[in-house]
Symmetry: C2
Subunit: 266 residues, 2 copies
């Protein structure tokens, strides 16, 4: 049976709300996800929340009701609360119907099976959680195996990243590693590393991409460090016809990823 909580001061509400901060996420090893669509993706990939928050209204929605029941059956806690509290948890004026708390995932490279996909996305020192989430969403679309975060990136478990991923956080592979560790892992098996760079004349459509291809983009402002670029099998650039010299990092990744997919599906 769902528990009813309507006080903002309730410790469970305060704890859930605290997971909007990275410090608390790290300490607890938990994160927040919102919205029927994202929680459904999570369930389909075999993950149910430890706690699910919802309003009376949500319960009349069959998909939400099923999620609530499944959470309880798996030993999780279902918490019926007010719209005002859900708004506070969600941080949006128009709160989603459900909010869930999930344990963070294992982000080790060893959990990835490089042979399971043709395309892998790799981001280095990516600062924007929205870009990170968007890359996950794009990764899903091109059938990528996952996203590998190099060095100090935005937190993939932040509310913004989870939201922008539209659920792909739960369905795609995800790993984080320092550069040297990634490079050692990559070179221990098959894989072509293609970096995007401003310091190359090679058009991104010129070379033949090889499976599995690892598409590497650098930090939003600084791009790839020179020694990282030097370690790539190929450096390519997208044509830039205007005044600016670079694309948004998530956009650059998507343009590269669709080129790879288009070559592989031809």
């Amino acid at each position: 049976m769902p528990r009813e909580i309507t006080a903002f001061s309730n410790p469970l509400i305060k704890r859930a709300r605290s997971l909007r901060d990275k410090k608390h996420r790290r300490r607890e090893g938990l994160f927040l996800a919102e919205g029927l669509r994202i929680l459904s993706e999570a369930e389909e990939s075999g993950r149910l929340p430890s706690e699910i928050f919802f309003t009376e209204d949500s319960e009349s929605h069959p998909r939400a009701k099923a999620l609530i029941d499944a959470t309880e059956q798996a030993g999780g806690e279902a918490i019926r609360t007010s719209r005002a509290i859900l708004t506070k948890l969600s941080g949006k004026d128009n709160p989603q119907a459900v909010v869930g708390i999930y344990p963070e995932f294992d982000l080790s490279l060893d959990a990835l099976d490089r042979d399971s996909a043709q395309i892998w996305l790799v981001a280095q020192a990516l600062r924007d959680p929205g870009n990170l989430g968007t890359m996950l969403r794009t990764g899903d679309a091109v059938g990528a195996g996952g996203l590998i975060l190099i060095d100090d990136c935005a937190d993939p478990f932040s509310v913004e990243a989870v939201r922008a991923s539209m659920g792909a956080l739960f369905t795609l592979g995800l790993a984080a590693a320092p550069w040297t560790e990634f490079l050692a892992w990559l070179r221990a098996g098959k894989g072509q590393l293609i970096g995007t760079s401003l310091d190359t004349d090679l058009d991104y459509q010129e070379p033949r991409y090889e499976k599995p291809v690892f598409l590497l983009v650098g930090n939003e402002s600084a791009g790839l460090p020179a020694d990282y670029a030097a370690a790539c099998d190929l450096l390519v650039k997208m044509p830039m016809m205007g005044k600016a010299d670079s694309l948004n990092a998530a956009v650059a990744t998507a343009v590269m990823a669709y080129e790879a997919l288009n070559q592989f599906r031809r």
Copy 2:
């Protein structure tokens, strides 16, 4: 000579700060842009701010100094202020070196010259200002003539949109119009209208794009209304290999725009 303002309560500071709100932007017909790069793009496209804010530190930067001087020579006001106030104006912990106030642009369709470019971007009911700015940035990259905003879109003059555009707001064409007005304008001349849709089997790489091509994406959640889709010359879809059925709107636009550019440059 620059004026010195160090009080948060100064009316000019309060007025500048108020331009973070759409209501105030509309009332004053002004908006904020931040950062050397963006203000430089503006200057190159012939626009100088009516007021430029900076700190003592900024003045030692030659590019910033040149911008400050040019603003004063053009009759604008240069305001030296504190880092704390610049942070407040910029809304970021790490404020940009310069913040400028600019008059909003004319957004009428008649200001666009469709023959000036091969590619035009069209967004319908786009809600996210970051997506809007990213589309402008992508538009610059593919040599698009501009971005046309249909129906009720996010505000292109919002701080988030200006920032995400990386200056392309100043260099690209920009118009806003209701759908019927846009359609009448489009059909009064040459132009192929290609919409992205989930309800089509036509792969986005199959058809031959014709110049000038108008690439239309719909609202982030709802996609294109059925009658809008019906008015397109072609509806296409990107391959979706994963669990989700759509891409981020700015990503979808970029994938389409690079396909158009790739066809035209072949």
